[in-house]
């Protein structure tokens, strides 16, 4: 499975990268802002996008909304990671059409399991 990671925190980006690799998948790109993520999504063949919500340029939620409105990316698998544990955030993520939500801090094990689950569906 080819994975895109977008998070404005470099250390966390690396942590997610490790989790993806532990799950046995390939990280195509790990970027720090919404626009770069959008560019990668349009340039590369991606199976799963792991997106942070608060990123400069475009938030993770805006990115999902844009993907769901796009013919090519409509069916793309998206996992949102956020530091905001409010119920309202979960609702917004769900409404935007993401496939899953993980709140920070997360256990690496939990993230690995989540990615494996998606991979099985794909």
């Amino acid at each position: 499975m080819r994975v895109l990671i977008a998070d404005d925190d470099e250390d966390l980006r690396d942590l997610v990268t490790i989790a993806v690799e532990k799950a046995g998948h390939e990280v195509v790109a790990a970027v720090g802002d919404g626009q770069s993520a959008w560019d990668v999504l349009n340039a590369e063949e991606i199976d799963l996008a792991v997106l942070d919500i608060s990123m400069p340029g475009m938030t993770g939620i805006e990115l999902v909304e844009r993907m769901r409105a796009d013919d090519e990316l409509r069916e793309q698998n998206v996992l949102i990671i956020t530091a905001n544990a409010q119920p309202s955030t979960a609702e917004a993520v769900h409404a935007a059409g993401a496939n899953g939500l993980i709140t920070k801090p997360f256990q690496v094990r939990e993230l690995v399991e989540f990615i494996r689950g998606i991979a099985e569906r794909v």
Binding site: A83, N84, A85
Partner: protein, 579 residues
């Protein structure tokens, strides 16, 4: 009435307040003239002894008149003077020819004096004086009744003089009465003038007080710049407009008073919406200004307190959030006279609220992200099967992990209290098995209890209870009081968790054998950042948010927390929920 009243009572006779000496003056002058006549070449046969005696009597009477006002003798004694004068006149007549004496007319002087005194008794005295004086020359044999004319004169003179005495007495009575009336009306007038002056002084005082009160009101009125105070009549027409309203809303009082309605400042649809939500009568689609105004003052017109947020429109068309307090005004007969609106600009308060929310969100994000990295990388190190950690490394990383989680909980607690503060905290209830919630909390508390040597006991009963609660939040509340109990209990102590069902209540009781909490601190436990003295003394970890959060959760469920504690023996805390 004071001074003039006494004057009325003292005044005797037609001469009023003339002194006896002044009254006597006429007699003195008459006697001086008589003596002058006796000593003059005009031939008058005189008995010197009688004339001198008469003079001495007049002198004595005059002396008495002079000293009488200074003595304490009763007023009646004054009549002694004219009576003595009668005697003196009688002697003078006897000494100057008796019946033929030219000084008979002097009789009139004491007669007038005595007859002018009030009371018929004095007429009698005067008549007696006249009779004695006129008849004395015949009685003493100085004169003889020589002719019929003499006899007639002897009778006629006293009769005429007595009639004169009666007339004088009557005239004096009338004059006296008039005088008394005059004095009385003078006194009344004086009293009236006095009371008028008094009233005038009072009015002046009241006016000064009113001026002072008005000035104070004016100053307060002008000083209120941050609040718009607007008064209306019962129909909503503006009748009062303070300087605060001028500066907040941009209309001068001239533009507002009598020309604008309070509803001109409101959004009509906002009032209709509010009215619809509260099921008010103005919910209909009537759009008249009256209907909108009735909707606005519906609560206040029922005499209830009405403080709500509205949107107000300024003269330039811009709008701002305003907190408006509406109160009904009553007139002096307690009939509705209108309404008072006090509006406060909430713009900066809203901005502060927004910044607070934003800050809480920022803190949440900025602290959780690095904590995620710390916890994630620690997990990677501890789970690395290729390069296992040494025992010491594993222990140290355990400390890092534990403290990172502590920080994380603190961030969560701070965010939670911020939510409660801003009123954004609510519970989402669903039928929940209480035993499930309590078991999960026991499992959460167990590792810490085991590590600190505290025995954890539970008595959950055989019967499960399912009530409608927010399982996550209630679990958090039970976690908090359980972990508090474990933290407050020294090694070897016990913490028990019990589920009691009593009537229409469910009690989740956590009892420990710990340090206890001082009685005067019990009521402060739910205060944010408050820490019991026993907590700081025994170095119990925490920041003082646990019970604040627990109370907020329990309150949101319609429940309460019961606490009892004995220092040195332990504490019992119960979450009481309605069934």
């Amino acid at each position: 009435m004071s001074a003039s009243g006494i004057a009325v009572r003292r005044s005797t006779g037609a001469f009023g307040s003339w002194s006896p000496l002044l009254k006597q003056l006429a007699t003195v002058i008459a006697f001086l003239l008589a003596n002058a006549v006796v000593l003059s070449p005009v031939v008058v046969q005189a008995d010197v002894a009688a004339v001198v005696t008469a003079d001495l009597l007049v002198l004595a009477a005059t002396g008495f008149a002079a000293v009488l006002p200074g003595t304490r003798l009763p007023a009646g004694w004054e009549l002694a003077i004219p009576i003595v004068s009668f005697v003196a006149v009688a002697l003078l007549r006897i000494g100057t020819g008796g019946q033929a004496s030219p000084f008979g007319a002097l009789l009139v002087l004491p007669l007038v004096w005595i007859a002018s005194e009030p009371g018929f008794r004095n007429v009698v005295i005067a008549a007696a004086g006249v009779i004695v004086t006129t008849s004395l020359p015949f009685v003493l044999g100085v004169s003889d009744i020589a002719s019929a004319a003499d006899a007639v004169r002897l009778v006629f003179t006293p009769v005429i003089l007595t009639i004169a005495a009666v007339l004088i007495n009557q005239i004096a009575r009338v004059v006296n009465r008039r005088l008394a009336q005059l004095q009385e009306s003078n006194a009344e007038r004086d009293a009236l003038v006095e009371s008028l002056e008094q009233a005038n002084r009072e009015a002046g005082k009241r006016e000064r007080q009113t001026v002072r009160a008005n000035r104070l009101l004016d100053e307060v009125w002008t000083a209120i710049k941050g609040h718009a105070i607007i008064g209306t009549d019962v129909t909503g027409l503006i009748t009062v407009w303070n300087p605060g309203a001028e500066s907040l809303l941009g209309y001068s009082s001239k533009q507002a008073i009598g020309r604008m309605r309070i509803t001109d400042l409101h959004r009509g649809e906002e009032i209709r919406e509010e009215s619809r939500l509260s099921g008010g009568q103005a919910a209909s689609e009537r759009v008249s200004a009256e209907a909108v105004f009735d909707g606005l003052v519906e609560t206040a017109s029922n005499g209830l307190r009405d403080v709500r947020d509205w949107t107000y429109r300024r003269r330039d068309g811009t709008e701002f959030p305003a907190q408006v307090s509406i109160a009904q005004r009553l007139d002096e007969r307690s009939e509705p006279a209108g309404y008072i609106f006090v509006a406060t600009d909430e713009t900066s308060a809203r901005e502060i609220e927004r910044l607070k929310d934003e800050f809480a969100g920022l803190i949440s994000h900025e602290l959780r992200t690095p904590l995620s990295s710390i916890l994630g990388y620690v997990e990677l190190l501890r789970d690395d099967e290729d390069e296992p950690l040494s025992r010491m490394q594993a222990k140290y990383l355990g400390v890092v992990d534990r403290n990172a989680r502590r920080l994380l909980r603190l961030v969560g607690d701070l965010l939670f209290t911020a939510q409660v503060d801003s009123g954004r905290f609510s519970v989402e209830t669903a039928p929940t098995s209480l035993r499930g919630v309590l078991r999960a909390s026991l499992e959460t508390a167990r590792p810490h209890a085991e590590a600190t040597g505290v025995i954890l006991r539970s008595e959950l009963g055989d019967e499960d209870v399912t009530i409608s609660v927010d399982a996550t939040r209630l679990g958090q509340a039970v976690d908090n009081i359980l972990s508090n109990a474990v933290k407050f209990t020294p090694r070897g102590g016990t913490v028990g968790l019990e589920l009691d069902l009593t009537g229409d209540e469910v009690r989740i009781v956590v009892a420990d054998t710990g340090f206890g909490i001082a009685e005067d601190e019990l009521h402060r436990l739910a205060e944010r950042f408050f820490r019991a003295t026993t907590a700081t003394q025994n170095a119990v970890q925490g920041v003082g948010l646990g019970l604040t959060i627990t109370k907020a959760i329990v309150t949101a469920h319609g429940g309460r927390i019961d606490i009892s504690s004995v220092l040195g023996e332990g504490t019992s805390m119960a979450i009481v929920l309605p069934r």
